[in-house]
Symmetry: C2
Subunit: 453 residues, 2 copies
């Protein structure tokens, strides 16, 4: 559509400026210091949705951070697309590794560097701008609803309640989410599944106070040493997870599925060079794509205890902590694996220490069919603008709200991620390529067109 193209070309600088303005708001949902920033960000999203052509846009209160809802109903008898996204971002630390401020977006080498640029402000904002293009060119033929939440990065604790209480408002024919990546601009892909998540914190206590490591060393359990032993026990020599029952519910992929996966382009040397590692690491018997797509994993996301500042302190600490998470695949249950992890760490605690463990975050694995009208519309839209059929792939990340949304609204989700794996999500120097941002805005109107036709 030339009209779409022309409109975008004429307004592209403003589209970018608006995104940069959003990126300047430090909407870190995990940190309660940012409560006011969260509200400010929600209100800015609401304003932009109205400007883009939404008939109504509203900031809804929740027990946590607010939800933004907006809609443009063209004709109730036409299909309705619900766009889900999130305006909250991951904490920016470690700050010292950023080349520029995480909330001072910089354009460099054709990329937008800022926390949230790809995850997910830059991606949900493509949909806001697609709505604007469709509205201003009078070519919107279906209904669009927006559900932009502020707690995705902390496990969406209040979204299920909100969705359950607003089923009629959110009624739709498909849910469209851009919060994932594609293989590359040359090899577009669509996620057909995301992994689930079970995220816990473990706290190991030895003596009731920090001790002198000379006076007590060798006679009292060191919680760091024993936490290390507990963590070490979780993987065997083949990097299989050893927690009893962990793999019980995994639906193994068929040889055909694995064969199909192996056809996705993958260059191990390039992959290693990008990460700066000499060797990869993972579960024996599976390829890299399989390890990150169809296999469950267990990662230590953080560890701390004792003296961690400059110099030497001869302390035998009282406490040690770890944040530990598992990625889950169909048919594993987040609740079941969370409970399994909590019990495992409590059970294997050696004599001399006590272990507390609790749930921090979770979400179910999710799969979407490739024969739905919505999936086909997404694939056709990408083929239109990229000139290539997208490959269906299994994503490694988690979008815990998928199961909630499907359960409450009774429709399937389609993922149209325009990010790249190299976008440094959750890491310093998160970025989103300008070309991806603009290509996404160009592609999304076609999805609506094909889904409605």
């Amino acid at each position: 559509m030339q009209a779409w193209k022309d409109y975008q070309e004429k307004n592209k600088d403003r589209f970018l400026d608006e995104l940069l303005e959003l990126l300047r708001i430090p909407s870190v949902s995990a940190n309660s210091d940012h409560k006011d920033d969260m509200r400010k960000c929600a209100e800015k999203v609401q304003q932009r949705l109205l400007e883009a052509g939404a008939a109504t846009a509203r900031v809804y209160e929740t027990a946590g951070h607010p939800v933004v809802y907006a809609e443009k109903i063209v004709d109730p008898s036409k299909p309705t697309v619900l766009v889900y996204g999130h305006y909250d971002v991951q904490p920016p630390d470690p700050l010292n590794l950023w080349h520029s401020g995480p909330f001072e977006p910089v354009i460099k080498d054709g990329r937008i560097y800022a926390r949230g640029s790809a995850d997910d402000k830059g991606q949900f904002y493509m949909h806001v701008k697609a709505l604007e293009i469709l509205s201003k060119t009078n070519s919107l033929e279906n209904n669009i609803k927006f559900l932009i939440e502020g707690e995705e990065e902390v496990g969406s604790p209040n979204l299920a309640g909100f969705v359950a209480a607003h089923k009629d408002l959110l009624k739709c024919d498909v849910i469209l989410i851009s919060d994932s990546s594609m293989i590359s601009m040359e090899t577009p892909s669509i996620d057909i599944g995301v992994r689930g998540l079970a995220y816990i914190q473990v706290e190991v206590t030895g003596a009731n106070r920090d001790l002198h490591s000379g006076v007590y060393g060798g006679a009292v359990a060191n919680p760091i040493t024993l936490l290390a032993k507990m963590i070490a026990s979780c993987h065997d020599a083949n990097n299989h997870i050893t927690i009893p029952g962990f793999y019980d519910d995994v639906v193994e992929s068929t040889p055909e599925e694995r064969k199909l996966m192996a056809e996705a382009p993958y260059d191990e040397t390039e992959y290693k060079n990008d990460l700066g590692v000499k060797e990869l690491w993972g579960e024996k018997g599976f390829t890299t794509n399989e390890r990150t797509g169809i296999r469950p994993t267990l990662e230590i996301n953080g560890i701390w205890g004792g003296y961690t500042a400059e110099g030497a302190k001869t302390v035998l600490p009282s406490k040690a902590y770890a944040k530990i998470s598992a990625r889950l695949v169909p048919n594993q249950s987040s609740e079941k694996i969370t409970e399994m992890l909590l019990q495992y760490f409590k059970k294997i605690a050696p004599a001399g220490v006590t272990v507390e463990a609790y749930n921090l975050h979770g979400g179910e694995p999710y799969m979407t069919p490739i024969d739905s009208k919505a999936y086909k519309a997404a694939a056709q839209a990408i083929e239109t603008t990229f000139g290539k059929k997208p490959i269906p792939v299994r994503g490694g990340g988690s979008i815990p709200i998928c199961t909630i949304l499907e359960k409450e609204l009774g429709v399937k989700i389609v993922f149209m991620g325009f990010g790249l794996d190299s976008d440094n999500l959750h890491s310093p120097n998160e970025k989103f390529d300008l070309v991806n941002f603009y290509k996404g805005i160009e592609t999304i109107p076609y999805f609506h067109k094909y889904f409605t036709s």
Copy 2:
């Protein structure tokens, strides 16, 4: 001596006030922010030494924090006692566990709570006040020298150079150190040995940046997981240290020595209750006293990596760190064990990560004979004021400068520690009992008397 007793009784409140003033100076040698506090503390010590009767007292520059030297030469033909102590203190963190400010000393239940109260300001200051008592009552019959350094808690990097350059100045017949503890006021004891120390830092690097644990989890080595495996490999199921060669140079104690050690009072229930643990932990085949006295140990003093703040961040970190130290016994060499630890961690690094390791701190184990005139003088002084013969014991901590002092000055060290193991050295709520402080001041003049007679 009634005159000593009277003088102390009349001046005891001032003695305490002077100590509290010293404790208010945050002389943390490990943290370069406290450089000015270090100088201020050194100058205060110099002033107090002059007031107490030293003929000269001087603050000497070093490449690090200054050294305070003072002397009172009564008669060059008389024996000379060199008192060693340190005015620097350990970092106070974790601050949130202190019941009162670490540098705002509080007297509660007959105890002085403050960082440095026992280690070592409160203890070396007993010697300053003992000098005052001897001077003001005209009963000083030997020569006294003071060497009070400011870098003990960071491994005394500049002391060896200072001592080597000032051998004549420091010439003495014995070195007297109060920087250790006794079993209890009811069971006085004298340390006849201290353990050595080898303290390193290990840095494990996986990918060249923090990664999203969903996108890369399962395919790239997690440096926390692998650091945990490396740490876990250091002790076997009997809590013996598994590092090849670690025990090679250990001089095993004889059955007679172990029998003697077993006679020291020890109540396991009381020990466990004090620490709040249900079970003790340590090397199989040795008692608690042996584990902390005659056996080398390996402790993790600190660990950190990944996300350690509030909430959940799904990061696969690039780096993980640990501070690791070994306590050494005769005849182990700090240098040799340090090198062994560095090589061990580099060598066992699994594929997929790289390991950097470097030395932070060290010191040799030290033993002193119990048949020397100085040891006997110390034992007799304690018997005079405590009414009981002290028990000779092996201390678990380290005083790395012992070997340096003996090597440069050619004389033995005698330890007269008046602290208690429960003083929370290097921990929050460090304390020194008032009764111990005053008993130390009462006892030290007798040491000089018996050593000189």
